[in-house]
Symmetry: C2
Subunit: 137 residues, 2 copies
DNA sequence: CTTGACTCCGTAGTATGGTACAGGCTGTAC
DNA sequence: GTACAGCCTGTACCATACTACGGAGTCAAG
């Protein structure tokens, strides 16, 4: 069975060496066996694991959440529904963030409309609004 | 002219005392005059400043960006158009974040659809997808 | 005059996700 | 055998926005 050094693993997974060690500390990848010199000897499967992490990260999961997802897979008690639940919770999180961003954007668009872009900054309607804007809950 | 202690300022602005000092260090509020004991004596205007900061923060500006907005106001060279420019850049930032979130959500929705919620977690289609998902740029 | 609340400063810790050393050992190629 | 890349550990650092804490001095009420 071929093993990989940390450099090869990092290269194949498209991450930095430090990141691989960091993920090990965070419990996202298993501690690999070591050679007599202390060098890490990784099975090839760790590359798949790192890609899993990256994809989950791209979907908005935090490293802690990813660790949870990984442990779900190992626990025979856990069902597919548990996984689905996590995905749905994450969707709700994302929707919440999108709503917050939408609100921000709407306010900013309003502000930019109020400003014709001429005159000195110190009586810009945008800055004036920030001085007195009503807080809408 | 009445002055306020840091505690009163924090209370009126709805932030913590430590936050007031933190904002001073970050250059978001002026260093106030001190009494003989070293206590800060704030003018009432600092409360307005703190509210400005909070509103700008609610609009998605970082503290550094807020500091910039504040200094724009003081510089007579700066025009209203500069302020508007910042707002428009921030709108673009927000739109970019929203697009990223939208992509995440779409992928997650796809994944949850692929999972009927039954069976053990270790062959959940969601987790399997994370093992082999194609990276779409 | 004492008590308790308030303030001072500086440093360190929180969470997030890494990145960057320093200083030393190892593995390999020539 | 010697150079050089690669790996080891541990710690410190980046940005972001705070929050907490220790230990000391101060202010105001009773």
């Amino acid at each position: 069975m071929t093993t990989l050094t940390i450099g090869k693993v990092a290269q194949r997974a498209g991450v930095g060496i430090e990141t691989v060690r960091f993920y090990e500390r965070r419990g996202l990848i298993d501690e690999p066996p070591r050679g007599p010199s202390g060098y890490r000897h990784y099975p090839e499967s760790v590359v798949l694991r790192l890609l899993f992490v990256r994809r989950a990260k791209d979907l908005g999961f935090t490293l802690n959440e990813i660790k949870e997802l990984l442990s779900l897979r190992l626990d025979p008690q856990t069902t597919c529904a548990d996984v689905k639940q996590r995905a749905e919770t994450k969707i709700a999180d994302i929707e919440e963030k999108m709503r917050a961003l939408r609100r921000m954007k709407q306010s900013l668009v309003q502000l930019t409309k109020s400003c014709n872009g001429s005159g000195p900054a110190n009586d810009c309607p945008i800055l004036e609004s920030l001085d007195s804007l009503e807080q809408k809950p």
